[in-house]
Subunit: 145 residues, 2 copies
């Protein structure tokens, strides 16, 4: 597995070990991971800290020039909110671990010029599948259903 | 002025008094303001706490049924991130104080079925115009430019 996606998956497992929703994300700039994040809905009682949002927040206030050189990795297809955050900061590339269990507005990202790559990694799919099967209500809350 | 937009504008002034970017937001459910927020880029060193995000975070973990009865007010046209958060939670109506100084993806919101109302209130316009004039670099950072 791609080392950056692997780092995102490690974040997902960290979230799971905290009793949270197992979705992880990393932000990569010039080949270096500059921030890591995971979903904190349960841990922080948060409505906005999806993995990608947590990762962007932990990256701190970057310049537009820095964002334009970044790649955002997420174990799961980014939802409208997280896709929107990427569009705000004009992050040019997003690598998605899987979009089998959930698919965000990938076409919208592509239409706005974002290189959007879907891996559909088996471990990412299985981790999320099991979590959703065991926690359907919590999962629906996280995606506004 | 609409009392809810007035409350959002009060949040914008609160942000300004803290040395922050003067954008405010409130979330209204069944005619009652259930959360208030303002941009906290400066105050918290935050890349994600735009006014609407701060407001949604302070509202806490609502149910899908609650979000579907909400109206989100913002003194300024919501950016891609904040629009995306509204789409995630299927908030059906957004009232925008002004879109003269900045315009987010309002057409995208409308295409996705969100009732999107622009007031273009003079006080909202003037507050933002002056702030941008005096803080162009900071403002550009906030919108990823």
């Amino acid at each position: 597995m791609d080392k950056y996606l692997k780092a995102a998956l490690e974040e997902a497992y960290k979230g799971l070990s905290e009793g949270g929703i197992p979705i992880g994300s990393v932000l990569v700039l010039d080949g270096k991971i500059i921030a890591r994040g995971h979903n904190r809905r349960i841990q922080n009682g948060s409505a906005i800290l999806h993995a990608e949002m947590d990762c962007l927040e932990r990256a701190g206030r970057l310049t537009a020039e820095e964002y334009k050189k970044c790649t955002l990795y997420s174990t799961l297809s980014p939802c409208d909110m997280c896709s929107g955050a990427s569009l705000l900061y004009k992050i040019p590339k997003i690598v998605i671990g899987e979009n089998v269990n959930f698919q965000g507005p990938e076409d919208h990202l592509r239409a706005r010029g974002v290189e959007t790559i879907v891996i559909n990694d088996g471990e990412c799919i299985e981790l999320m599948r099991k979590f959703i099967e065991n926690n359907p209500t919590l999962w629906n809350e996280d995606i506004g259903e």
